[in-house]
């Protein structure tokens, strides 16, 4: 870029062409006050506070929107500038309430900061207050339009960052203000309460609705959000021992000024009164609070007893996709060297398996192949099998930004009308379960019409001719028939995908948790390989993780068949390496997965279980079986923040510290490392999970050789492939992703024989819809209810906006069954039945019904059968039938 040199306040400063005066000034540490400017937003020049004087022409320029030109001589503090700036501030104050004393924005208020810096208090201008009612019905954001300075940050944040467009300016002149459609309250608008506007509002116009008078907080800590797989950097503001606010980290490019409702408002479960304050031991039907010594002794005695009586393989450890990498590392080591079993698993392993085998078999790389900022530069994005705005809000922002702000095209493959549907250029609603056929149909179009990148395919991939042969027998018409889609829809989607030069794929739990998940992922890989869209910039396959450390927990070895870094347990060299490191013989046979172990009910092949941070009673299908399995155990130790449904069966319960109370790292779905930093001391007597594991091992007479977390981190760095140097940065800023680059390079080194096409072996739907169960039932995730609600269910504010517990059914199906909203129905699947109330809803296609994931016992309806070669029961949907029942039944 063209270098440009200008003079500001007699100082010669340089930048490059295209920069604004404000940008150059900021880089050179010259302060110019602003209200409407923010690095995450396009400048608009609304507040005029950033006026500077061009000394050559005498013109006053708004520095935020004026590009530099060579040789400019700028004065930011000339008497003229100061006079104008003061007048602007005085005018703003003239229509601003004198409410600073009771305004909770306190010293965070930009207007107040600027006014006091410029020595402006009460002034000579007549007050013209703008009266407005304070809007505070929703539990998240309070709006006081009397304090609005019309900087437009909220409007721009809503449109540019999160691309929700819930608010815009309304009316003009004196009556202009940011408003929703028809000026309705936020809770009756598309607003998702992501809090982007809140974090940017310079005055008290937008405020967190919270306990009043929190005001300016003493300290803040930069850490990572512990909800979904995006793992956004987050800043917690702390007062005393309480976290009072969660904000997007300033200047962080990943969250770029926006979190989501969970990150911004869902943290307060850490202050829930239901948190465990002390270790518990079961006595009869009740739990008794005990000291750590007593609880550890009891747990170690129980585990040792089962070990000597039934052998190591009668025991299992469930690590957690919500715990840190270090904790999972210790847990798997605990299972393998202390208990001497490979029965170690975590909650994300089922859906990670689909990604691991699907992507691994084709690309040779086991996870998301690119970073989110590259996704935003893609020309075309294919989103499949997810309500992305709910599963991974940050990834959805990227997709929406690409489409709305950068003119990318969007192919959406999803039967339900999700929020992304209004962004989609092609929206395909295939029959659930037939996604692989649709994708193979697209591949066959691309091959037949010669739309693939022949040069790349022949030079760098393997297996193309076999794929072409296999797809020859698979006509577009067949794909159309089995997916229940018009052939031309598949045709145009295929042409669009192949036609764009940079296409990216985003896939979610609708694929990874489906019975045909692996086939679908392989088919997606085929599409990407045909068009050379895997490794180049702004392309790639993004697989969304449900939990914040879903990736990390698996990579770090919380798996029954893999040692840390995806080194197979069955591999002698890998085992030897860790045997030498840990000075202990390792069990060679792969262990049991969580679902495998618990799905057998009373026939559970285990006698003792140590569950850390998972709640299998709610997360697995057929809770009844899981409950039976847990109650038939000899000994159960549960370690969690709350007395969960699973902990209710425990003999010993350890209280664990929350994400804000400990340190460690998470790996997000892209493979980035996010570091937790301790914000507050652990609640009650709770301890970080890693510390509990170390104490338990010591109590069991097999002390693990670590006394600090640093020692664990150093060992992981040294011995776990993919994690070499993950702790490079002293300050641990997540902007630097050198680790991510290394990780990808490492993957390239072991790519002999890759990438290669996967040959589909079956061209019929994986399962036929049984006639007596004509509906596909899906469990719909919602923003406030995360996972199975173990944490979000304890978040005070999220709880208030749970979706109503109703059965959603499409308009056509409701008409066919003569159902009206409010009717009672019985939902039956081959496994169970339950009653619900009907809500007719236009977002569902015919043949699909939906329950919110928060619906009690909905998992009863789902099949416990393990899919082929999978250790997980397909959970993306189940078949069901409906019948109307009278209300009193």
């Amino acid at each position: 870029m063209q270098p440009v040199t200008i003079t500001i306040n007699q100082r010669v400063v340089s930048g490059h062409a295209g920069m604004t005066i404000l940008e150059i000034a900021r880089e050179s540490k010259i302060d110019i006050p602003t209200l409407c400017d923010d690095s995450s937003l396009e400048p608009v020049g609304a507040c005029r506070l950033c006026l500077v004087e061009n000394e050559q022409s005498g013109a006053l320029l708004a520095s935020c929107v004026t590009a530099v030109s060579p040789g400019m001589i700028i004065n930011t503090n000339s008497p003229r500038v100061l006079e104008h700036r003061k007048t602007i501030v005085k005018l703003l104050l003239a229509s601003h309430p004198d409410a600073c004393l009771v305004c909770d924005k306190g010293n965070r208020c930009r207007l107040r900061q600027i006014a006091s810096t410029m020595n402006i208090g009460f002034n000579e201008l007549e007050k013209i207050p703008q009266f407005a009612a304070i809007q505070e019905l929703n539990p998240f954001i309070t709006r006081d339009m009397a304090k609005c300075v019309l900087c437009g940050k909220c409007v721009r944040a809503c449109r540019e960052i999160v691309v929700e467009g819930a608010i815009d300016y309304y009316q003009r002149g004196f009556s202009a203000h940011p408003a929703t459609l028809n000026d309705t309250p936020l809770e009756r608008s598309p607003c998702t309460f992501c809090g982007a506007c809140l974090a940017l509002c310079p005055t008290g116009a937008l405020m967190e609705k919270e306990v009043p008078f929190q005001g300016t907080t003493g300290s803040s800590v930069r850490t990572a959000c512990a909800y979904c797989g995006c793992g956004c950097p987050i800043t917690l503001e702390i007062k005393g021992r309480r976290v009072v606010r969660a904000l997007p980290t300033k200047g962080d490019f990943f969250s770029n000024g926006a979190l989501c409702i969970r990150g911004g408002f869902g943290y307060d479960y850490i202050h829930s009164k239901e948190r465990l304050v002390a270790p518990l031991i079961k006595e009869g039907d009740h739990f008794k609070k005990v000291s750590w010594e007593v609880a550890l002794k009891a747990a170690s005695a129980g585990l040792n007893r089962v070990k000597s009586q039934f052998g190591p393989d009668a025991m299992a450890v469930f690590g957690s996709s919500k715990c840190t990498n270090e904790e999972n590392y210790l847990l798997q080591r605990f299972a393998r060297t202390v208990l001497k079993t490979n029965n170690i698993d975590n909650g994300s392993s089922p859906y990670n398996l689909a990604i691991r085998s699907g992507l691994g078999d084709t690309t040779g790389y086991l996870s998301t192949t690119n970073l989110l900022e590259a996704l935003e530069e893609a020309e075309l994005i294919l989103v499949i099998g997810t309500d992305l705005t709910v599963t991974a809000p940050r990834a959805a922002y990227a997709v929406k930004r690409a489409v709305r702000n950068k003119q990318a095209k969007l192919i959406l493959i999803e039967p339900r009308q999700t929020k992304l549907a209004s962004f989609a250029h092609w929206w395909l609603r295939p029959e659930p379960g037939s996604e692989a056929l649709l994708l193979n149909g697209m591949a066959s179009v691309i091959i037949e019409e010669k739309l693939f990148n022949a040069e790349y395919v022949s030079r760098l991939t393997e297996g193309f001719s076999a794929l072409a042969d296999a797809l020859k027998s698979f006509s577009l018409e067949a794909a159309a028939k089995d997916t229940h889609l018009p052939a031309d829809e598949i045709l145009s989607a295929a042409r669009a995908y192949a036609g764009a030069s940079k296409s990216a794929i985003v896939l979610g739990p609708g694929i990874t948790c489906a019975a045909s998940g692996i086939e679908s992922i392989k088919a997606l890989s085929n599409l990407a390989l045909l068009t050379d869209n895997i490794w180049c910039s702004s392309c790639g396959i993004y697989s969304i993780q449900k939990d914040n450390n879903g990736m990390g927990a698996c990579e770090i070895g919380s798996l029954p068949d893999f040692l840390p870094g995806y080194q197979p347990v069955a591999d002698l060299t890998a085992r030897n390496k860790f045997e030498r490191l840990w000075q202990s013989e390792l069990p060679a046979n792969p262990g049991l997965s969580m679902a495998e172990a618990l799905s057998r009910g009373k026939e559970i092949p285990l006698k003792a279980l140590y569950v850390v941070g998972e709640n299998p009673v709610l997360s697995l299908p057929q809770p009844r079986q899981t409950r039976e399995a847990l109650s038939s155990l000899d000994f159960l130790v549960v370690q969690d923040l709350f007395l969960t449904e699973t902990a209710a069966f425990a003999d010993v319960v350890f209280p664990a510290a929350s994400f804000a109370e400990k340190e460690g790292s998470f790996t997000n779905f892209e493979g980035r490392i996010n570091w937790l930093k301790q914000a507050i001391p652990p609640y009650g007597e709770s301890l970080p999970d890693w510390e509990i594991v170390l104490r338990l091992a010591k109590e069991m007479g097999d002390q693990l050789p670590y006394s600090t977390l640093e020692q664990v981190i150093t060992e992981i760095e040294e011995f776990v492939p993919l994690y070499e140097g993950y702790d490079h940065q002293e300050e641990r800023p997540s902007e630097k992703w050198s680790h991510w680059e290394e990780r990808r390079n490492l993957a390239f080194q072991s790519l002999a024989g890759f990438p290669r096409f996967s040959i589909p072996d079956c061209f019929s739907p994986p399962h036929k819809k049984p006639e007596e169960y004509p509906f596909c039932l899906v469990l719909e995730e919602t923003l406030p209810f995360f996972g199975n609600g173990t944490r979000s269910g304890k978040a005070r504010r999220l709880k208030t906006i749970y979706p109503p517990l109703l059965l959603k059914i499409g308009t056509d199906d409701a008409a066919k069954l003569a159902l009206a909203t409010g009717n009672a129905v019985r939902i039956s699947s081959p496994f169970s039945q339950l009653n619900a109330t009907v809500d007719i809803c236009a977002t569902l296609p015919p043949g699909m019904i939906a329950l919110p994931a928060s619906f009690p016992d909905a998992m009863d309806l789902f099949s416990p059968d393990m899919g082929k070669e999978k250790n997980l029961p397909p959970a993306s949907f189940c078949y069901a039938q409906l019948e109307r029942v009278s209300l009193d039944e």
């Binding site: 608010i167 459609l181 028809n182």
Partner: protein, 158 residues
Amino acid sequence: MNKAQKEPEINPEVLLDIVTAYRRQKWSLIPLVQEIQAEFGYIPPQSIPLIADALKLFPSEVQGVISFYEQLYTEPRGKNIVRVCRGTACHVRGGKTVLKLVKQHLGLEENQTSDDLEYTLETVACLGICALSPTMIINKQVYGHMNPQKIKQLFKKE
């Protein structure tokens, strides 16, 4: 606005036809809303989501543009638009009284529409024919040198 006012019938098919013709033409918001206003006399609120969907804009964005321009109306207007001049020349020659009398005759305040959708009363900053002041304009017909008699006759006649 008057709550009792009857909503004019909006034919949803006509509305949809107008909107559909502009699909995915982001730049065409203004011509589109002008066409809708030409058809229905105003921009019915139910058209905003349709416009937003067709043009791939946000409903709040569409509303923001519509509410910005004086010439775009979001409420039904009368068959006859009465505009009384409030310019300086008219003011010194009794424009204020003219407006008061027109208000009395129509039973309307400024920017209101009668319940039967016959009249909408508006004011205008200057009609540019100060020689005829005080003036008013009904639809496209200009009336000059207004006085109480003329006003009485005018609204009796119509």
